[in-house]
Symmetry: C2
Subunit: 221 residues, 2 copies
DNA sequence: CGGGTAATTGACCCGGGTCAACAGCAGTGG
DNA sequence: CCACTGCTGTTGACCCGGGTCAATTACCCG
């Protein structure tokens, strides 16, 4: 049930029919869309604990690809197993949909990021978000975490060129806000970084699952 | 159960606790996020037939606002009613989630739009999308449809300024692709418009609901 | 007819793109 | 242990798409 995917390989490609739900166990992946002329937009990163789209449930074709950024360990949950879970475990089902709504909320925030923020603000925002997401699954050590995307990946995630990402990174370092070397991110001044990013953590809806599964359970029982 | 909201009023604001699910019956609305310094990003338009977020089900606070672009008629579906439907009508439930996944897919495409396309391409893309969405609910006449967002609204939707939207619109008109006056959009050359927009309708997942509700029904019965 | 919102235009500017070279570093094979 | 290869990061010079600011003009509605 668990599989390993080498880095830079696609888990599933745009246009394919999804056969199972992926749960990331180890490593980073990204959801991305490519235009016919090769432009690529990364629409979200996926880190351990993230589910990769419930599309298979309802939509018959992937409208985007999922690619491995690092080498990746995933659990594959088949259609039938999933159907079984959904029909017998309402609180797990609620948790699944909760993930789905949160990732839609993240999707919205990325649009805000690319649509409204300047280069420096965008990168700062991505660092804030990914750090908090990793923290919520226990993958940070103090103010440090893994950050394996290349500058080109970052560029494709925030709608800039890698050249400009490089320059903005230097600016963030010069300001003493972050350290980023050998895939290791350290946030040296979180309040300042959040200020630069105009970061409001609300959209991540962290720490709000339990309350709601409880509520859902009450409604079901 | 149906309400009327005057134009430019919020249906529900960021931070509020959602009390019911809205179904747009008449008019246009938009989902948007504002940054503390006033910048606004419209993250999606909502037209008749669209449901406004199942957030209330699971998330306890709105992470964005919904505003009326025109005067608006909506149906409000209360939490209890919705719970009733969800527990007794699996195929309606599937349809609800289908809408949710499709709107997430639209969300992704908007990110691609703002992140990768040029000004002209972006506007062309919005016109293609909204025309097809209106067509699917029978609100087009030939190649014409209502298009009530102002140039400022369009600007906030695609991450440009209204000045530049104005200039790009003139360019689209000069190319003979569209007519847009008094809130009326006419697409004069759809193939060319799609070409300019690098438009691929796949992400709208049109015409794929029935098959899947059938499948879901089979799985449930 | 008057007041307010939305569209349009012009002049000027700047954030970020483009292109191209080069440096650093990890992994690989000899 | 070192040379080779290929990817990732870095830098410089130059340019352009789209932003800014500010003034009009057109339109809508009472």
């Amino acid at each position: 049930m668990t599989h390993t995917i080498p880095r830079r390989r696609d888990l599933i490609a745009q246009g394919a029919t999804p056969r199972c739900l992926y749960l990331i166990l180890r490593g980073w992946a990204c959801h991305y869309r490519t235009l016919e002329d090769g432009r690529r937009q990364i629409v979200n990163f996926a880190v351990p604990g993230d589910l990769c789209d419930l599309n298979l449930f309802i939509l018959d074709r992937m409208d985007h690809s999922i690619g491995a950024i690092t080498s990746l360990t995933v659990a594959e949950i088949g259609r039938e197993v999933l159907h079984g879970v959904v029909t017998t475990h309402p609180n797990i089902t609620t948790a699944l949909w909760w993930q789905e709504l949160v990732s839609k909320s993240i999707q919205r925030e990325w649009l805000v990021n690319v649509g409204q923020r300047s280069a420096l603000e965008r990168i700062a925002h991505v660092f804030c978000e990914m750090f908090l997401r990793l923290e919520s699954v226990g993958l940070t050590h103090g103010f440090s975490c893994d950050f394996p995307p290349t500058q080109t990946d970052i560029a494709d995630a925030i709608g800039l060129t890698s050249v400009h990402v490089n320059r903005s990174l230097q600016e963030l370092r010069r300001l003493g806000l972050i350290t980023l070397e050998r895939q290791k991110l350290t946030i040296n001044d979180m309040p300042a970084l959040k200020r630069v990013a105009l970061f409001d953590p609300n959209y991540l809806h962290h720490g709000r699952l339990k309350r709601h599964t409880d509520a859902a359970r009450r409604n079901v029982e």
